[in-house]
Symmetry: C2
Subunit: 285 residues, 2 copies
């Protein structure tokens, strides 16, 4: 039976560290603040927003939600995002995406100041990830995976790390973060030949492909560490979520595996707050 | 005996295509121009510059060298680069690096307009590579490797592509370009455990580590395609160059291999001109 890499202890450790940081910032008269920009009211966004606000509250920082109707026009929304970006008291900005199709998302994203881009929504933020610029903030999800690996003392240096999925939100930045810590990194995807064998060869397998339970027994091997980034509707349990890994299949085989829910997803809002506090420190240094 | 993936036929094909493009641009009264910025006069830079100027001449485009003394001060050089960047007739800019230590290279690079950044010297250029933005210009060397693979009809999609080296000039952008064409991409490096085995597992091995002849017989296998990006002083033949691959070792084993010299290095100035012409077309569209 594999060790379960639960997210809560990781998030708790981050929050404890952040609580101290916020307290010492407050002694200097500074309270870090996360700005959340939301257009419309998708249930998933509201759920994440609730978690983010709660984490802010736990660590002692402020948050503010800037909510707009789905039919907001481009010019008005550009003006709003620019104004939020200019707010001195907002240190980090999270904007839910995708935006409604009527909006030019690329343009909107570019209005977020890169120094407040705590979830890597801008081109400048992506560049910092690719070029290993420590002043940048990689997206929260792959950063949460790194926090998991660190917390559970899983060695990365020299190890075969296989990232399944190549999105700009998870797969590619994940690869860069693993490479930064001297992992040997393979990025594989739907077009990969012999995909199960490629995944099976990993010491650390990060599944970030967004397909429910696609990582089956033939993708894994004993001794392996599996980090499951997927959050998918569970086809077998209506109303429930499941990961990209078929947990029942993989768990008896591998050494350690993160569950879904209660795995990586439990860590992301703590990373969001961590980034915002780092941004606040840089903005006030 | 392996097929030799020579660079000259690849460069010739690109130059033929570019000659036609330049001719049609000239009919519209437009002549693409490459601006080359050089500080000091390192022999390697002068050699590359000579090749670039010659390629420009062959395809019918203009080039201009902007040369500065090694002791130029930051302010003067910033002013010069800004002025070159603003020149309407200069469509692409190559700047030799590293700059003398007395200069802030990061700052200088940022003065090159991203739309003229034909060798990916800017952060904006790097972002375009990472985010698969087709308006960007990846560095010339990894692009030359892709031109080699295309010219010799080597399939990439689904194949195991192993990039040895993780520099921002070759390794990382090479990985992104292979990924863009649906390769399964592994980035390995000096810290990789069992490095020979990781390389041996490749269908396509790109050696870009900058260490003379380090890829020996135990890194390769029959059926493999090897692209050697290295240009190193040959420890066994003073005054000669060699690649990262021990050619004598690997050539009898693998299926196809690019030689050094006369391999990838013969293609880079053609890519530089291709990028400049693409930049010119975008600037005039």
């Amino acid at each position: 039976m594999a060790e379960s890499l639960k997210g809560k202890p990781v998030a708790d450790a981050i929050k404890a560290e952040l609580t101290e940081k916020v307290a010492s910032l407050k002694e200097k008269g500074i309270t870090p603040k996360l700005g959340i920009i939301r257009v419309g009211a998708r249930p998933d966004d509201l759920f994440y927003e609730g978690g983010a606000k709660k984490t802010c509250q736990i660590v002692g920082m402020d948050s503010e939600v800037f909510e707009y109707p789905e039919d907001i026009d481009q010019a008005s929304f550009e003006k709003a995002v620019t104004e939020i970006g200019a707010k001195k008291d907002v240190n980090g900005i999270l904007m839910f995406s995708p935006l409604p199709k009527s909006l030019d998302e690329r343009k909107i994203r570019s209005l977020i100041p890169v120094e407040k881009d705590v979830d890597c929504l801008t081109v400048g933020g992506a560049a910092k990830v690719f070029t290993d610029d420590a002043t940048g903030f990689p997206p929260c999800t792959p950063t949460a995976c790194m926090e998991m690996l660190h917390f559970y003392d899983i060695p990365i240096k020299g190890k075969k790390c296989v990232v399944l999925g190549r999105s700009l939100v998870v797969g590619k930045p994940m690869a860069m973060l693993l490479l930064r810590e001297h992992g040997t990194v393979t990025i594989c995807h739907s077009r990969t030949e012999n995909l199960p064998d490629v995944c099976k060869d990993a010491d650390i397998l990060v599944a970030a492909v967004g397909r429910a339970k696609m990582v089956t027994a033939d993708f894994v091997k004993p001794g392996q560490i599996v980090i499951d980034v997927g959050i998918n509707a569970d086809p077998d349990n209506p109303g429930k979520y499941c990961g990209d890994v078929n947990f029942a299949d993989a768990e008896p085989i591998v050494e350690k595996i993160s569950p879904v829910p209660a795995g990586v997803g439990s860590v992301t809002t703590s990373v969001l707050c961590k980034h915002t506090i780092m941004a606040c420190e840089m903005q006030n240094s």
